[in-house]
Symmetry: C2
Subunit: 340 residues, 2 copies
């Protein structure tokens, strides 16, 4: 039911003061005499006054709201990141306006335009695409403070916070080498964003360093379906390598499922690793060895950078790569150092 909205004037009249005083009393921005404060508070609650954030935002030209754009909210990695960011913002008295770009650069551009039009104070974004996202992200970064997380597009002057992908692949491949792996395939998304590129590069570099044979590099998208599909293709083409390294946990879960369907035993016949450590990676059959991202730290750092940017005009951009860790589970033979 839409009731005729009660405005600050109604409260002012009832309290017998000016609207300015009501504003000051309710916001607590300027001192107000105790008696008046009492009057105003009474009047406001009596009338059920709840303020008009739009009018306030227009006048103050700030909304105390930060926009966040992620490629997907169905991916548990991003939902965890979103929760962390929301939590960090709350400490700073800000709200989060969340948008999903559905891995579509056009949708992403739309979301960015809309966030800028809505005058959010800043933006946290994990861009969809390494190049197709550039224009929109660069434009938005020119309008207001913007921090990229997890992924970044090149050619945009903005802060970035994410994980050290090279270090992550080093952890994974050192671990696999220790398990006696001599050949490995990499299942990833298409090379359309920075972290994917860095992971593929890391895979190539560290297999090279360790003398592990690169059986195959399959590029699709970050989904369970793609992991399943990629595995079917590999199985159709011949025997699997010693290990299948995946660029995220969803892909790895799909790989595990396809292996189970095909009667391929993990870890006996093949070792499988994921990336992100989403909650479900501990529950699969077998549980998944994976790279844990410090998403809480990523979120805190992103919010810190944004808050800093809200004050100053422009510092030189900060690129912060946080250190990942390896979670060893049964999909690579578990915690014991049993040789294969």
């Amino acid at each position: 039911m839409t009731v005729g909205r009660v405005t600050i004037r109604d409260v002012a009249e009832r309290a017998g003061v000016s609207t300015a005083t009501v504003s000051r009393a309710l916001s607590g921005a300027k001192p107000v005499s105790p008696a008046v404060l009492e009057q105003v508070t009474r009047a406001a609650t009596d009338l059920g006054y709840s303020g008009n954030g739009i009018a306030s935002a227009l006048r103050r030209s700030r909304t105390d709201t930060v926009g966040m754009v992620v490629p997907s909210i169905a991916n548990p990695f991003f939902t965890a990141l979103v929760e962390s960011v929301e939590h960090a913002l709350q400490q700073a008295g800000r709200q989060l306006f969340l948008c999903s770009s559905r891995s579509d650069p056009a949708m992403e551009a739309l979301r960015l335009r809309s966030l800028v039009a809505r005058q959010v104070d800043g933006i946290v974004i994990s861009p969809v695409h390494g190049t197709l996202s550039t224009e929109a992200v660069a434009w938005a970064a020119g309008q207001l403070p913007l921090v990229q997380v997890d992924r970044y597009v090149s050619g945009v002057t903005s802060d970035w916070v994410g994980v050290d992908d090279d270090a992550a692949l080093r952890l994974v491949l050192d671990h696999l080498a220790g398990r006696g792996v001599r050949s490995a395939a990499f299942v990833s998304s298409t090379l359309t964003n920075s972290s994917t590129e860095l992971r593929v590069a890391g895979f190539t570099a560290h297999t090279g360093r360790l003398g592990i044979d690169v059986a195959e590099v399959l590029l699709g998208d970050y989904s369970i379906d793609w992991g399943r599909e990629a595995t079917r293709r590999m199985l159709a083409a011949g025997p699997l390598p010693d290990a299948v390294v995946c660029a995220d946990d969803l892909i790895a879960l799909g790989v595990l499922q396809a292996c189970a369907e095909a009667g391929v035993s993990v870890p006996r016949d093949v070792l499988v690793t994921g990336f992100d450590d989403i909650p479900y990676s501990a529950l699969s059959d077998p549980p998944l060895t994976t790279v844990r991202q410090p998403q809480d730290e990523i979120a805190v750092e992103a919010v810190r950078l944004l808050s800093a940017a809200l004050g100053t005009s422009r510092d030189s951009p900060a690129y912060t790569a946080l250190t990942p860790s390896l979670v060893v589970r049964a999909s690579t033979g578990g915690g014991s150092t049993r040789p294969r």
Copy 2:
């Protein structure tokens, strides 16, 4: 970098017309001569004009934005629902402002106040608590159109869309009875919201009808951890019943994990069922028999009801319970009707 914002006046000056004309040209609300349209469009793009949604919202007193409040965005059921709602809204030219209440009524009240202050056009909410959420939800429903989804609080005059929980439990228990189950436990969240209550009631009613012995009803929260914990308690207390019925998939995944740890075989020693059909329920060990919610339909109907409410002042509230379906997987012995 915050550039001095370009306003409608800048565009008007450059195009040599009035601000009114610019507004009409850009919004397409009123007809404008082709020549002027061209001029204005040029000027706008030249200057990189992007409009001020706040000012527009204040003037038009509508934001074309709908707020959504869910208990958790970590729960895949809610993220799927959110994606569906977002998609449905997009068709209607509206945006979604998403908030998580983190299963906390106080946080929920905060979010609702904030959404109302931000003048969203309407609200879609899945309330945290059957009684503790009432005040805030009722207040918000008094301010603007509001639709409850999945769960509802009693005592609030608003539309509701969800699933028929009684029918769902009938599906589950008929299936289990067909598998020869004579005793069953129910693992759920505490009875603090409508759908939980209805699921427990459905469990009680249909076990009674089928002559299935109710071994235990354990109440905690909707999480993997609680499912694991509840199972450990049952195992500590004695042998498990023939089946463990869970109020959602997260709980069921926890139950499966605890069974695996304890060396209890599913489905040989015990049958397990979930609720929601989240993506990971097909990937667990064993894959989970579960109730599929028609979340796309729920979302579409919720948005339809909201759109209707935006026009009219008040219809009598609609309670829409959609029909669920059963997805049979290995955790209850799979699709075959192999008797136990």
